[in-house]
Amino acid sequence: MLASILVLAAEASTTAAELLDQAAGDAEAVKNPILPTVNEMLYAAIFFIALWTLMKFVLLPRITSVMDGRTDKIRDDLAAAEAAETERVAKLAQYEAGLAGARAEAVSIIEATRAEGDAERRTQITAAEAEVAAARAEAAAEIADAKARARSELTGSITDIAVGAAEAVIQMPLDRAAQGRIVEDYVNSSGKN
């Protein structure tokens, strides 16, 4: 009885061992396609580290040096442009200040000239007015003289005509001096009317 049990146990253990071996074999045969493999990791590591090394010492410096140079140039150009702009603004301010000064000077010159012109004009007008007044006075005197002379001549003529006419009417001579005074009085009194 014991012997048969031992035989059964031995057979069972043999079967279990066979099953375990088979399971292990199956596991080996069915590889997980998701898990990384050593050879692929090895080459990935080698090629990436090679690229990193090349990138650090050979590849990137050639690119970044030019990029940095261009960046520096752009920065310098921008600084120069900014300086030029500052200079332009300063010159513009200077020009505007000069322009304002010139404009003020021009205005002052215009004002001075205008004042001078006004004074000159006033002087000229005064002189002209004085001249005109003198001429007018002279003309008035001349007119008065002419008037007096004309009156005198007129009075004499009228006296001659009137006395002559009267002598012709009355057929006798008249006192020319007395008749002359009467005519003169008449002329003087009629001139007043």
Binding site: N39, M55, R62
Partner: protein, 260 residues
């Protein structure tokens, strides 16, 4: 067989036989290794062509051609990633971050390149290596800037009340030193694998519909989807390179100062 389509098993989509070296050997060189090699050589050639003396002169002129492309990319990494996340002090990490960006971008873009049609990062090995290197890098930067106090500052940020430390320290320890590299790797890998499977699905659909007389009318729609997804995957390739690089930059920046 799914809905009458003969869909290849996942192993056939992502596992490639060795070009040289015995199968399952630790030095077997397969298609993924070739893509990684092309990423190295392609980036190097692109930079060397862009940096030729002919294109360097005159340096004051606006860049053209390959030089314009490389300068734009470098300026994008420098100004759009490093300055934004670290500041001017982070410019010294430009070589590492630029290498990350270009390496990931080029290995990703092989998803849509004829005769390859396999993104290098749809295998976990590449993302895992890059994530581990980034992890080691930001820890090294932390030690350089803060000394060994970096580890304590990382798990117990200054200003946190002492009563909260038993709660904060395990969370920060987990998030900073375990979740960060894991999430970096898985995000990149999962996105690229998903895109790869999508493109394979629509390609298989197009091929199957080409032979099916009744369903041939559906072919144009499937083809349009395939073309659209190809364009979308180009964007994803760029986006994943950008995300990985900017997160690496954020982690490096956070290692530089204790207050982060």
């Amino acid at each position: 067989m799914i809905f009458g389509l003969e869909f290849p098993p996942i192993e056939n989509l992502v596992e490639w036989p060795n070009i040289f070296g015995p199968a399952d050997s630790w030095y077997g060189f397969n298609k993924i290794a070739l893509i990684n090699l092309i990423a190295l050589v392609g980036t190097t050639v692109l930079f060397l062509v862009a940096g030729r003396k002919k294109t360097l002169e005159p340096a004051t002129n606006a860049p053209k051609g390959s030089r314009n492309l490389v300068e734009s990319a470098v300026a994008f990494i420098r100004d759009g990633i490093i300055i934004e996340t670290i500041g001017p002090a982070g410019l010294r990490y430009l070589p590492f971050l630029a290498s990350l960006f270009f390496f990931i971008l080029i290995t990703n873009i092989f998803e849509v390149i004829p005769f390859f049609h396999m993104p290098g990062n749809a295998r976990m090995a590449g993302p895992a290596v890059l994530a581990l290197l980034t992890w080691a890098y930001f820890i090294a930067v932390g030690i350089k800037h803060q000394g060994l106090k970096y580890f304590w500052n990382s798990v117990a940020p200054p200003g946190v009340p002492k009563a909260l430390l038993p709660l904060v320290v395990p969370i920060e320890l987990l998030s900073t030193f375990i979740v960060r590299p894991f999430s970096l790797a898985v995000r990149l890998f999962a996105n690229m694998l998903a895109g790869h499977i999508l493109l394979v699905t629509f390609s298989v659909l197009c091929i199957t519909l080409w032979g099916a007389s009744l369903l041939l009318v559906v072919l144009p729609f499937s083809f349009v989807m395939l073309v659209g997804l190809t364009g979308f995957e180009i964007m994803v390739a760029f986006l994943q390179a950008y995300i990985f690089t900017i997160l690496a930059s954020v982690y490096i920046g956070s290692s530089m100062h204790a207050e982060h």
